[in-house]
Protein backbone atom coordinates (compact mmCIF):
# COMPACT_ATOMS: atom_id res chain seq x y z
CA UNK A 1 0.00 0.00 0.00
CA UNK A 2 1.60 3.25 -1.03
CA UNK A 3 1.00 6.32 1.09
CA UNK A 4 2.64 8.64 -1.37
CA UNK A 5 0.61 11.70 -2.16
CA UNK A 6 0.28 12.25 -5.85
CA UNK A 7 2.69 14.77 -7.19
CA UNK A 8 1.09 16.96 -9.80
CA UNK A 9 3.27 17.42 -12.82
CA UNK A 10 4.03 14.36 -14.83
CA UNK A 11 3.17 11.80 -12.18
CA UNK A 12 1.06 9.84 -14.60
CA UNK A 13 3.62 9.00 -17.26
CA UNK A 14 6.42 8.68 -14.73
CA UNK A 15 4.71 5.95 -12.75
CA UNK A 16 4.27 3.85 -15.81
CA UNK A 17 7.90 4.45 -16.66
CA UNK A 18 8.72 3.42 -13.12
CA UNK A 19 6.86 0.19 -13.52
CA UNK A 20 8.54 -0.49 -16.79
CA UNK A 21 11.95 0.19 -15.29
CA UNK A 22 11.17 -2.03 -12.34
CA UNK A 23 10.00 -4.79 -14.60
CA UNK A 24 13.06 -4.73 -16.78
CA UNK A 25 15.32 -4.60 -13.74
CA UNK A 26 13.67 -7.74 -12.41
CA UNK A 27 14.00 -9.41 -15.77
CA UNK A 28 17.73 -8.79 -15.86
CA UNK A 29 18.37 -10.15 -12.39
CA UNK A 30 15.93 -13.01 -12.64
CA UNK A 31 16.02 -15.08 -15.76
CA UNK A 32 18.43 -15.18 -18.62
CA UNK A 33 16.57 -14.59 -21.83
CA UNK A 34 18.31 -14.10 -25.13
CA UNK A 35 16.95 -10.86 -26.45
CA UNK A 36 17.54 -10.12 -30.07
CA UNK A 37 19.09 -6.71 -29.99
CA UNK A 38 16.95 -4.35 -31.99
CA UNK A 39 19.05 -1.91 -34.04
CA UNK A 40 19.25 1.36 -32.16
CA UNK A 41 17.23 4.05 -33.99
CA UNK A 42 19.90 6.21 -35.62
CA UNK A 43 20.07 9.95 -35.42
CA UNK A 44 17.34 10.58 -37.95
CA UNK A 45 17.47 13.86 -39.86
CA UNK A 46 14.23 13.18 -41.62
CA UNK A 47 12.30 12.63 -38.38
CA UNK A 48 13.75 15.74 -36.76
CA UNK A 49 12.95 17.78 -39.84
CA UNK A 50 9.42 16.49 -39.84
CA UNK A 51 8.95 17.27 -36.13
CA UNK A 52 10.29 20.76 -36.63
CA UNK A 53 8.00 21.32 -39.58
CA UNK A 54 5.02 20.13 -37.57
CA UNK A 55 5.68 22.47 -34.68
CA UNK A 56 7.01 25.52 -36.52
CA UNK A 57 5.08 25.57 -39.76
CA UNK A 58 1.51 25.94 -38.43
CA UNK A 59 2.19 29.05 -36.33
CA UNK A 60 4.14 30.60 -39.22
CA UNK A 61 1.23 30.04 -41.57
CA UNK A 62 -1.23 31.51 -39.09
CA UNK A 63 1.08 34.43 -38.47
CA UNK A 64 1.32 35.16 -42.20
CA UNK A 65 -2.45 35.03 -42.51
CA UNK A 66 -2.93 37.39 -39.55
CA UNK A 67 -0.38 39.87 -40.84
CA UNK A 68 -2.04 39.73 -44.23
CA UNK A 69 -5.44 40.41 -42.70
CA UNK A 70 -3.99 43.26 -40.65
CA UNK A 71 -2.44 44.74 -43.80
CA UNK A 72 -5.77 44.62 -45.57
CA UNK A 73 -7.68 46.13 -42.66
CA UNK A 74 -5.25 48.96 -41.98
CA UNK A 75 -4.11 49.95 -45.45
CA UNK A 76 -6.93 52.45 -45.99
CA UNK A 77 -5.55 56.01 -45.91
CA UNK A 78 -7.81 56.96 -42.99
CA UNK A 79 -7.04 53.87 -40.87
CA UNK A 80 -6.45 54.68 -37.21
CA UNK A 81 -3.78 52.03 -36.72
CA UNK A 82 -0.61 51.59 -38.80
CA UNK A 83 -0.43 48.67 -41.21
CA UNK A 84 2.47 46.19 -41.14
CA UNK A 85 4.04 47.92 -44.08
CA UNK A 86 3.94 51.25 -42.26
CA UNK A 87 5.46 49.67 -39.19
CA UNK A 88 8.27 48.24 -41.27
CA UNK A 89 8.86 51.60 -42.99
CA UNK A 90 8.83 53.79 -39.92
CA UNK A 91 10.39 51.54 -37.31
CA UNK A 92 12.84 49.55 -39.34
CA UNK A 93 15.81 50.54 -37.19
CA UNK A 94 14.03 49.23 -34.08
CA UNK A 95 13.23 45.94 -35.78
CA UNK A 96 16.49 45.14 -37.48
CA UNK A 97 18.99 46.36 -34.90
CA UNK A 98 17.95 45.81 -31.31
CA UNK A 99 21.25 47.03 -29.90
CA UNK A 100 22.05 50.41 -31.50
CA UNK A 101 23.01 53.20 -29.13
CA UNK A 102 22.78 56.84 -30.19
CA UNK A 103 22.83 58.22 -26.68
CA UNK A 104 20.21 59.03 -24.02
CA UNK A 105 16.71 58.04 -25.17
CA UNK A 106 17.70 56.93 -28.69
CA UNK A 107 18.68 53.32 -28.03
CA UNK A 108 17.69 49.93 -29.41
CA UNK A 109 14.82 47.98 -27.89
CA UNK A 110 17.22 45.22 -26.91
CA UNK A 111 18.89 47.58 -24.43
CA UNK A 112 15.53 48.62 -23.06
CA UNK A 113 14.44 45.03 -22.63
CA UNK A 114 17.68 44.33 -20.77
CA UNK A 115 17.03 47.21 -18.40
CA UNK A 116 13.51 45.94 -17.80
CA UNK A 117 14.78 42.41 -17.34
CA UNK A 118 17.19 43.67 -14.73
CA UNK A 119 14.32 45.18 -12.77
CA UNK A 120 12.37 41.96 -13.14
CA UNK A 121 15.41 40.04 -11.98
CA UNK A 122 15.53 42.08 -8.78
CA UNK A 123 11.81 42.12 -8.15
CA UNK A 124 11.10 38.54 -9.11
CA UNK A 125 14.29 37.25 -7.50
CA UNK A 126 13.26 38.80 -4.19
CA UNK A 127 9.72 37.52 -4.64
CA UNK A 128 10.98 34.01 -5.33
CA UNK A 129 13.21 33.90 -2.25
CA UNK A 130 10.72 35.56 0.09
CA UNK A 131 7.81 33.65 -1.40
CA UNK A 132 9.44 30.26 -0.94
CA UNK A 133 10.48 31.06 2.64
CA UNK A 134 7.08 32.44 3.64
CA UNK A 135 5.29 29.64 1.81
CA UNK A 136 7.42 27.05 3.59
CA UNK A 137 6.58 28.53 7.00
CA UNK A 138 2.89 28.74 6.19
CA UNK A 139 2.76 25.26 4.72
CA UNK A 140 4.18 23.86 7.95
CA UNK A 141 1.37 25.25 10.07
CA UNK A 142 -2.27 24.42 9.61
CA UNK A 143 -3.38 27.55 11.43
CA UNK A 144 -1.13 29.89 9.48
CA UNK A 145 -2.55 28.34 6.33
CA UNK A 146 -6.13 28.78 7.46
CA UNK A 147 -5.55 32.34 8.58
CA UNK A 148 -3.44 33.64 5.75
CA UNK A 149 -4.64 31.78 2.69
CA UNK A 150 -7.87 33.78 2.18
CA UNK A 151 -5.97 37.03 2.61
CA UNK A 152 -3.40 36.00 0.02
CA UNK A 153 -6.16 34.91 -2.31
CA UNK A 154 -7.60 38.44 -2.13
CA UNK A 155 -4.26 40.23 -2.41
CA UNK A 156 -3.15 38.24 -5.41
CA UNK A 157 -6.02 39.59 -7.49
CA UNK A 158 -4.93 43.22 -7.01
CA UNK A 159 -3.64 44.41 -10.39
CA UNK A 160 0.01 45.52 -10.55
CA UNK A 161 -0.80 49.13 -11.34
CA UNK A 162 -2.93 49.47 -8.25
CA UNK A 163 0.12 48.97 -6.06
CA UNK A 164 2.06 51.72 -7.76
CA UNK A 165 0.77 54.83 -5.96
CA UNK A 166 1.32 53.23 -2.57
CA UNK A 167 4.70 52.06 -3.66
CA UNK A 168 5.71 55.50 -4.91
CA UNK A 169 4.52 57.05 -1.70
CA UNK A 170 6.47 54.57 0.37
CA UNK A 171 9.74 54.55 -1.57
CA UNK A 172 9.71 58.11 -2.98
CA UNK A 173 11.89 56.94 -5.87
CA UNK A 174 10.98 55.49 -9.22
CA UNK A 175 13.28 52.50 -9.48
CA UNK A 176 12.65 50.92 -6.07
CA UNK A 177 8.92 51.47 -6.54
CA UNK A 178 8.96 49.67 -9.87
CA UNK A 179 10.88 46.78 -8.34
CA UNK A 180 8.48 46.69 -5.42
CA UNK A 181 5.49 46.53 -7.76
CA UNK A 182 7.04 43.55 -9.52
CA UNK A 183 7.81 41.95 -6.20
CA UNK A 184 4.35 42.39 -4.76
CA UNK A 185 2.64 41.21 -7.93
CA UNK A 186 4.61 38.06 -8.38
CA UNK A 187 5.04 36.89 -4.78
CA UNK A 188 1.52 35.57 -4.16
CA UNK A 189 1.50 32.58 -6.48
CA UNK A 190 4.95 31.63 -5.18
CA UNK A 191 3.76 31.73 -1.56
CA UNK A 192 0.52 29.92 -2.21
CA UNK A 193 2.00 27.15 -4.34
CA UNK A 194 4.96 26.62 -2.03
CA UNK A 195 2.63 26.35 0.95
CA UNK A 196 0.47 23.78 -0.79
CA UNK A 197 3.55 21.85 -1.87
CA UNK A 198 4.94 21.81 1.65
CA UNK A 199 1.62 20.68 3.04
CA UNK A 200 1.55 17.81 0.58
CA UNK A 201 4.96 16.44 1.55
CA UNK A 202 4.27 12.77 2.26
CA UNK A 203 4.30 11.85 5.94
CA UNK A 204 6.90 9.19 5.08
CA UNK A 205 9.48 11.80 4.17
CA UNK A 206 8.79 13.64 7.41
CA UNK A 207 9.23 10.40 9.32
CA UNK A 208 12.55 9.78 7.61
CA UNK A 209 13.65 13.27 8.58
CA UNK A 210 12.54 12.73 12.17
CA UNK A 211 14.33 9.42 12.53
CA UNK A 212 17.49 11.06 11.19
CA UNK A 213 16.90 14.05 13.48
CA UNK A 214 17.38 16.54 10.66
CA UNK A 215 17.26 20.08 12.02
CA UNK A 216 15.04 22.78 10.51
CA UNK A 217 17.64 23.98 8.03
CA UNK A 218 18.60 20.50 6.90
CA UNK A 219 14.93 19.61 6.60
CA UNK A 220 14.31 22.70 4.49
CA UNK A 221 17.10 22.02 2.02
CA UNK A 222 17.15 18.22 1.97
CA UNK A 223 13.46 17.33 2.16
CA UNK A 224 11.18 20.31 1.79
CA UNK A 225 12.68 22.04 -1.25
CA UNK A 226 13.07 18.90 -3.36
CA UNK A 227 9.77 17.38 -2.29
CA UNK A 228 7.80 20.55 -2.94
CA UNK A 229 9.76 21.61 -6.01
CA UNK A 230 7.08 20.70 -8.56
CA UNK A 231 4.64 22.98 -6.74
CA UNK A 232 7.24 25.67 -6.19
CA UNK A 233 8.05 25.80 -9.87
CA UNK A 234 4.39 26.08 -10.76
CA UNK A 235 4.30 29.14 -8.52
CA UNK A 236 7.51 30.54 -9.99
CA UNK A 237 6.21 30.11 -13.51
CA UNK A 238 3.02 32.00 -12.78
CA UNK A 239 5.06 34.56 -10.87
CA UNK A 240 7.50 35.28 -13.66
CA UNK A 241 4.60 35.82 -16.05
CA UNK A 242 2.96 38.24 -13.64
CA UNK A 243 6.19 40.13 -13.05
CA UNK A 244 6.63 40.67 -16.77
CA UNK A 245 3.08 42.02 -16.85
CA UNK A 246 3.91 44.31 -13.96
CA UNK A 247 7.16 45.69 -15.38
CA UNK A 248 5.45 47.35 -18.31
CA UNK A 249 2.77 48.87 -16.10
CA UNK A 250 5.31 50.05 -13.55
CA UNK A 251 7.72 51.53 -16.06
CA UNK A 252 5.02 53.43 -17.88
CA UNK A 253 4.65 55.61 -14.83
CA UNK A 254 8.10 55.62 -13.33
CA UNK A 255 10.09 56.56 -16.41
CA UNK A 256 13.66 55.51 -17.10
CA UNK A 257 14.83 53.57 -20.10
CA UNK A 258 12.81 50.36 -19.76
CA UNK A 259 10.58 48.94 -22.46
CA UNK A 260 7.47 50.00 -20.55
CA UNK A 261 8.49 53.62 -20.50
CA UNK A 262 9.34 53.40 -24.18
CA UNK A 263 5.72 52.54 -24.95
CA UNK A 264 4.48 55.41 -22.86
CA UNK A 265 6.94 57.77 -24.52
CA UNK A 266 5.99 56.54 -27.98
CA UNK A 267 2.32 57.04 -27.20
CA UNK A 268 2.98 60.61 -26.05
CA UNK A 269 4.78 61.39 -29.28
CA UNK A 270 2.29 59.45 -31.42
CA UNK A 271 4.73 56.86 -32.73
CA UNK A 272 2.26 53.99 -33.03
CA UNK A 273 4.51 51.80 -35.20
CA UNK A 274 7.15 51.86 -32.46
CA UNK A 275 4.58 50.70 -29.94
CA UNK A 276 3.69 47.74 -32.10
CA UNK A 277 7.32 46.72 -32.39
CA UNK A 278 7.69 47.05 -28.63
CA UNK A 279 4.65 44.83 -28.09
CA UNK A 280 6.25 42.12 -30.16
CA UNK A 281 9.47 42.41 -28.16
CA UNK A 282 7.56 42.16 -24.90
CA UNK A 283 5.58 39.15 -26.06
CA UNK A 284 8.64 37.30 -27.28
CA UNK A 285 10.63 38.04 -24.13
CA UNK A 286 7.71 36.98 -21.90
CA UNK A 287 7.41 33.77 -23.85
CA UNK A 288 11.12 33.09 -23.45
CA UNK A 289 10.99 33.82 -19.71
CA UNK A 290 8.14 31.37 -19.29
CA UNK A 291 9.96 28.69 -21.25
CA UNK A 292 13.15 29.28 -19.26
CA UNK A 293 11.39 28.68 -15.94
CA UNK A 294 9.60 25.65 -17.36
CA UNK A 295 12.94 24.32 -18.59
CA UNK A 296 14.58 24.87 -15.22
CA UNK A 297 11.63 23.12 -13.59
CA UNK A 298 12.01 20.12 -15.86
CA UNK A 299 15.71 19.80 -15.10
CA UNK A 300 15.45 20.34 -11.37
CA UNK A 301 12.27 18.42 -10.55
CA UNK A 302 13.17 15.43 -12.67
CA UNK A 303 13.79 13.34 -9.56
CA UNK A 304 11.02 14.64 -7.31
CA UNK A 305 8.18 13.83 -9.65
CA UNK A 306 9.13 10.23 -10.21
CA UNK A 307 8.45 7.62 -7.59
Amino acid sequence: MSALAPIPSGSGPSTSADRKAAGSARATTGTVVALSRRPQPRFNLKRIGLGLAQSVLPPLVVLALLVGLWQVLCSAPDASLPSPATVWEQSRDLIVSPFFDNGSQDIGLGWRVLVSLQRVAYGFGLAAIAGILVGAVIGQSVWAMRGLDPIFQVLRTVPPLAWLPLSLAAFQQANPSAIFVIFITSIWPVIINTAVGVRNIPADYRNVAEVLRLNQIEFFFKIMLPAASPYIFTGLRIGVGLSWLAIVAAEMLTGGVGIGFFIWDAWNSSRLPDIIVALVYIGVVGFILDKLVAFAARIITRGAATN
Binding site: Y205, R213, T306
Partner: protein, 265 residues
Protein backbone atom coordinates in the same frame (compact mmCIF):
# COMPACT_ATOMS: atom_id res chain seq x y z
CA UNK B 1 19.76 -8.54 33.76
CA UNK B 2 17.44 -5.68 32.93
CA UNK B 3 15.53 -5.64 29.70
CA UNK B 4 17.11 -3.93 26.70
CA UNK B 5 13.87 -2.54 25.38
CA UNK B 6 10.86 -2.30 27.65
CA UNK B 7 7.29 -1.30 26.84
CA UNK B 8 5.88 -0.45 30.24
CA UNK B 9 2.09 -0.32 30.70
CA UNK B 10 1.51 1.53 27.48
CA UNK B 11 -1.88 2.89 26.47
CA UNK B 12 -2.44 4.69 23.24
CA UNK B 13 -5.50 6.50 22.02
CA UNK B 14 -6.11 9.02 19.30
CA UNK B 15 -8.41 11.98 19.86
CA UNK B 16 -9.99 13.43 16.83
CA UNK B 17 -12.87 15.87 16.69
CA UNK B 18 -13.91 15.02 20.23
CA UNK B 19 -14.08 11.30 19.54
CA UNK B 20 -11.53 9.00 21.15
CA UNK B 21 -10.19 5.87 19.48
CA UNK B 22 -8.58 3.46 21.91
CA UNK B 23 -5.92 1.65 19.94
CA UNK B 24 -3.60 -0.03 22.45
CA UNK B 25 -4.33 -0.86 26.06
CA UNK B 26 -1.96 -2.11 28.75
CA UNK B 27 0.95 -3.17 26.55
CA UNK B 28 3.81 -4.77 28.49
CA UNK B 29 6.73 -6.27 26.66
CA UNK B 30 10.43 -6.70 27.25
CA UNK B 31 12.89 -7.44 24.51
CA UNK B 32 16.47 -8.59 25.03
CA UNK B 33 19.51 -7.39 23.21
CA UNK B 34 20.02 -9.22 19.94
CA UNK B 35 16.55 -10.68 19.98
CA UNK B 36 14.38 -10.92 16.88
CA UNK B 37 10.74 -10.27 17.77
CA UNK B 38 7.82 -10.33 15.37
CA UNK B 39 4.51 -8.64 15.97
CA UNK B 40 1.57 -10.30 14.27
CA UNK B 41 -2.10 -9.46 14.34
CA UNK B 42 -5.04 -8.67 12.14
CA UNK B 43 -5.17 -5.53 10.07
CA UNK B 44 -5.92 -2.38 12.00
CA UNK B 45 -5.22 -3.80 15.45
CA UNK B 46 -2.43 -1.29 16.10
CA UNK B 47 0.80 -2.95 15.06
CA UNK B 48 2.11 0.06 13.19
CA UNK B 49 1.06 2.25 16.09
CA UNK B 50 3.09 0.09 18.45
CA UNK B 51 6.14 0.26 16.20
CA UNK B 52 5.78 4.02 15.85
CA UNK B 53 5.65 4.29 19.64
CA UNK B 54 8.97 2.45 19.87
CA UNK B 55 10.37 4.60 17.09
CA UNK B 56 9.17 7.72 18.89
CA UNK B 57 7.22 8.89 15.86
CA UNK B 58 4.03 8.71 17.95
CA UNK B 59 3.75 9.67 21.60
CA UNK B 60 2.39 7.27 24.20
CA UNK B 61 -0.84 8.26 25.96
CA UNK B 62 0.20 6.50 29.16
CA UNK B 63 3.13 4.35 30.19
CA UNK B 64 6.64 4.52 28.79
CA UNK B 65 9.04 3.07 26.26
CA UNK B 66 12.42 2.42 27.86
CA UNK B 67 15.59 1.68 25.93
CA UNK B 68 18.45 0.64 28.22
CA UNK B 69 16.41 2.01 31.10
CA UNK B 70 16.09 5.45 29.57
CA UNK B 71 12.76 6.74 28.39
CA UNK B 72 12.47 7.45 24.69
CA UNK B 73 9.93 10.01 23.56
CA UNK B 74 11.38 11.32 20.32
CA UNK B 75 12.61 9.60 17.16
CA UNK B 76 16.29 9.02 16.67
CA UNK B 77 18.73 7.08 14.52
CA UNK B 78 19.44 4.54 17.28
CA UNK B 79 15.94 3.18 16.53
CA UNK B 80 16.06 3.00 12.75
CA UNK B 81 12.87 2.23 10.87
CA UNK B 82 12.41 0.29 7.65
CA UNK B 83 9.14 1.69 6.41
CA UNK B 84 6.40 -0.34 4.84
CA UNK B 85 6.71 1.42 1.50
CA UNK B 86 10.48 1.91 1.55
CA UNK B 87 10.19 5.73 1.84
CA UNK B 88 13.29 6.38 -0.20
CA UNK B 89 13.65 9.97 -1.29
CA UNK B 90 12.95 9.83 -5.03
CA UNK B 91 15.16 12.78 -5.94
CA UNK B 92 18.26 11.13 -4.47
CA UNK B 93 20.18 8.22 -5.92
CA UNK B 94 20.40 4.96 -4.02
CA UNK B 95 23.85 5.95 -2.81
CA UNK B 96 22.71 9.41 -1.73
CA UNK B 97 19.72 8.02 0.12
CA UNK B 98 22.02 5.95 2.29
CA UNK B 99 24.60 8.70 2.39
CA UNK B 100 22.05 11.16 3.77
CA UNK B 101 21.67 8.93 6.81
CA UNK B 102 25.38 8.22 7.10
CA UNK B 103 26.49 11.83 6.88
CA UNK B 104 23.86 12.86 9.41
CA UNK B 105 24.69 10.15 11.93
CA UNK B 106 28.44 9.92 11.38
CA UNK B 107 29.13 13.39 9.99
CA UNK B 108 31.51 14.29 12.79
CA UNK B 109 32.75 10.83 13.69
CA UNK B 110 33.98 9.57 10.34
CA UNK B 111 36.06 11.14 7.60
CA UNK B 112 34.63 11.55 4.13
CA UNK B 113 36.44 8.46 2.86
CA UNK B 114 35.28 6.43 5.84
CA UNK B 115 31.70 7.54 5.26
CA UNK B 116 31.93 6.49 1.63
CA UNK B 117 33.24 3.08 2.64
CA UNK B 118 30.45 2.75 5.20
CA UNK B 119 27.77 3.57 2.63
CA UNK B 120 29.21 1.02 0.23
CA UNK B 121 29.56 -1.54 3.01
CA UNK B 122 25.88 -1.26 3.87
CA UNK B 123 24.80 -1.37 0.25
CA UNK B 124 26.95 -4.48 -0.04
CA UNK B 125 25.16 -6.09 2.90
CA UNK B 126 21.94 -6.02 0.89
CA UNK B 127 23.67 -6.66 -2.43
CA UNK B 128 22.79 -3.29 -3.86
CA UNK B 129 26.27 -1.78 -4.26
CA UNK B 130 26.00 -2.15 -8.03
CA UNK B 131 22.97 0.16 -8.22
CA UNK B 132 24.44 3.07 -6.26
CA UNK B 133 23.79 5.71 -8.88
CA UNK B 134 20.28 4.62 -9.81
CA UNK B 135 17.24 6.57 -8.68
CA UNK B 136 14.58 4.74 -6.68
CA UNK B 137 12.22 4.94 -9.65
CA UNK B 138 14.69 2.92 -11.70
CA UNK B 139 14.89 -0.13 -9.43
CA UNK B 140 12.38 -2.82 -8.55
CA UNK B 141 10.25 -2.95 -5.41
CA UNK B 142 12.42 -5.59 -3.80
CA UNK B 143 15.54 -3.56 -4.52
CA UNK B 144 13.96 -0.45 -3.01
CA UNK B 145 13.17 -2.38 0.14
CA UNK B 146 16.79 -3.59 0.25
CA UNK B 147 18.01 -0.03 0.03
CA UNK B 148 15.59 0.92 2.80
CA UNK B 149 17.14 -1.78 4.95
CA UNK B 150 20.65 -0.62 4.03
CA UNK B 151 19.74 2.93 5.00
CA UNK B 152 18.40 1.79 8.36
CA UNK B 153 21.41 -0.46 9.02
CA UNK B 154 23.82 2.31 8.08
CA UNK B 155 22.69 4.30 11.13
CA UNK B 156 24.14 1.52 13.26
CA UNK B 157 20.91 1.40 15.24
CA UNK B 158 20.53 -0.23 18.60
CA UNK B 159 17.19 -1.48 17.41
CA UNK B 160 15.99 -2.04 13.88
CA UNK B 161 12.25 -1.59 13.46
CA UNK B 162 10.65 -3.11 10.38
CA UNK B 163 7.04 -2.33 9.50
CA UNK B 164 5.82 -5.08 7.18
CA UNK B 165 9.02 -4.70 5.20
CA UNK B 166 8.16 -7.33 2.62
CA UNK B 167 4.38 -6.89 2.53
CA UNK B 168 4.26 -5.49 -0.98
CA UNK B 169 6.62 -8.03 -2.55
CA UNK B 170 6.04 -11.22 -4.46
CA UNK B 171 6.74 -14.51 -2.71
CA UNK B 172 10.10 -15.20 -4.35
CA UNK B 173 11.53 -11.75 -3.70
CA UNK B 174 10.19 -11.94 -0.19
CA UNK B 175 11.99 -15.22 0.47
CA UNK B 176 15.24 -13.70 -0.80
CA UNK B 177 14.90 -10.73 1.49
CA UNK B 178 13.95 -12.87 4.47
CA UNK B 179 17.17 -14.78 3.97
CA UNK B 180 19.05 -11.50 3.66
CA UNK B 181 17.57 -10.23 6.93
CA UNK B 182 18.35 -13.51 8.71
CA UNK B 183 21.90 -13.34 7.51
CA UNK B 184 22.31 -9.73 8.62
CA UNK B 185 20.82 -10.57 12.00
CA UNK B 186 23.27 -13.44 12.39
CA UNK B 187 26.21 -11.30 11.31
CA UNK B 188 25.53 -8.11 13.23
CA UNK B 189 23.45 -9.44 16.09
CA UNK B 190 21.04 -6.46 15.97
CA UNK B 191 17.91 -6.31 18.01
CA UNK B 192 15.05 -6.38 15.54
CA UNK B 193 11.33 -5.82 15.88
CA UNK B 194 9.33 -6.70 12.80
CA UNK B 195 5.66 -6.38 11.98
CA UNK B 196 4.26 -9.01 9.68
CA UNK B 197 1.04 -10.47 8.41
CA UNK B 198 2.71 -13.66 7.34
CA UNK B 199 2.73 -16.59 9.77
CA UNK B 200 5.57 -18.44 8.01
CA UNK B 201 7.68 -15.33 7.94
CA UNK B 202 7.12 -14.77 11.65
CA UNK B 203 8.07 -18.32 12.61
CA UNK B 204 11.04 -18.46 10.28
CA UNK B 205 12.66 -15.25 11.44
CA UNK B 206 11.69 -14.75 15.06
CA UNK B 207 12.96 -15.72 18.45
CA UNK B 208 9.60 -14.70 19.83
CA UNK B 209 6.27 -13.90 18.23
CA UNK B 210 4.02 -11.30 19.83
CA UNK B 211 0.39 -11.92 18.95
CA UNK B 212 -2.02 -9.03 19.21
CA UNK B 213 -5.71 -9.26 19.93
CA UNK B 214 -8.11 -7.37 17.74
CA UNK B 215 -8.77 -3.69 18.32
CA UNK B 216 -10.12 -1.43 19.50
CA UNK B 217 -8.01 -1.34 22.65
CA UNK B 218 -5.81 -4.18 21.43
CA UNK B 219 -3.65 -6.06 23.91
CA UNK B 220 -0.82 -8.52 23.61
CA UNK B 221 -2.74 -11.78 23.53
CA UNK B 222 0.11 -14.21 23.71
CA UNK B 223 3.86 -14.36 23.27
CA UNK B 224 5.24 -17.47 21.62
CA UNK B 225 8.89 -18.51 21.83
CA UNK B 226 10.30 -20.17 18.73
CA UNK B 227 12.97 -22.55 20.02
CA UNK B 228 14.43 -23.41 16.63
CA UNK B 229 18.24 -23.23 16.48
CA UNK B 230 19.90 -20.87 14.04
CA UNK B 231 20.94 -20.77 11.28
CA UNK B 232 17.54 -21.74 10.00
CA UNK B 233 16.93 -23.14 6.59
CA UNK B 234 13.48 -22.71 5.11
CA UNK B 235 13.51 -25.98 3.22
CA UNK B 236 14.68 -28.10 6.16
CA UNK B 237 12.14 -26.35 8.38
CA UNK B 238 9.22 -27.20 6.16
CA UNK B 239 9.02 -30.61 7.85
CA UNK B 240 10.44 -29.62 11.24
CA UNK B 241 8.11 -30.52 14.13
CA UNK B 242 8.88 -27.46 16.26
CA UNK B 243 8.35 -25.26 13.26
CA UNK B 244 5.02 -26.83 12.46
CA UNK B 245 3.91 -26.61 16.07
CA UNK B 246 4.78 -22.92 16.30
CA UNK B 247 3.05 -22.29 13.03
CA UNK B 248 -0.05 -24.05 14.25
CA UNK B 249 -0.04 -22.09 17.50
CA UNK B 250 0.02 -18.78 15.66
CA UNK B 251 -2.62 -19.88 13.19
CA UNK B 252 -4.86 -21.03 16.03
CA UNK B 253 -4.45 -17.74 17.81
CA UNK B 254 -5.22 -15.71 14.72
CA UNK B 255 -8.01 -17.74 13.20
CA UNK B 256 -9.67 -19.55 16.11
CA UNK B 257 -9.41 -17.48 19.20
CA UNK B 258 -9.14 -14.03 17.70
CA UNK B 259 -10.89 -14.24 14.41
CA UNK B 260 -10.91 -11.04 12.50
CA UNK B 261 -14.37 -9.56 12.85
CA UNK B 262 -15.11 -6.66 10.62
CA UNK B 263 -15.71 -3.87 13.10
CA UNK B 264 -19.03 -2.13 12.73
CA UNK B 265 -18.00 1.31 11.53
Amino acid sequence: MTAYLKLDHIDKHFDRAGARTEVLKGINLTIDKGEFVSIIGHSGCGKSTMLNLIAGLTKVSAGAVLLENREVNAPGPERAVVFQNHSLLPWLTVYDNVNLAVSKVFGSKKTKAERHDWVMHNLDLVQMAHAGDKRPAEISGGMKQRVGIARALSMEPKILLLDEPFGALDALTRAHLQDAVMEIHARLGNTMVMITHDVDEAVLLSDRIVMMTNGPAARIGEVLSVPIPRPRDRIALAADRTYLKCREAVLKFLYERHRFVEAAE
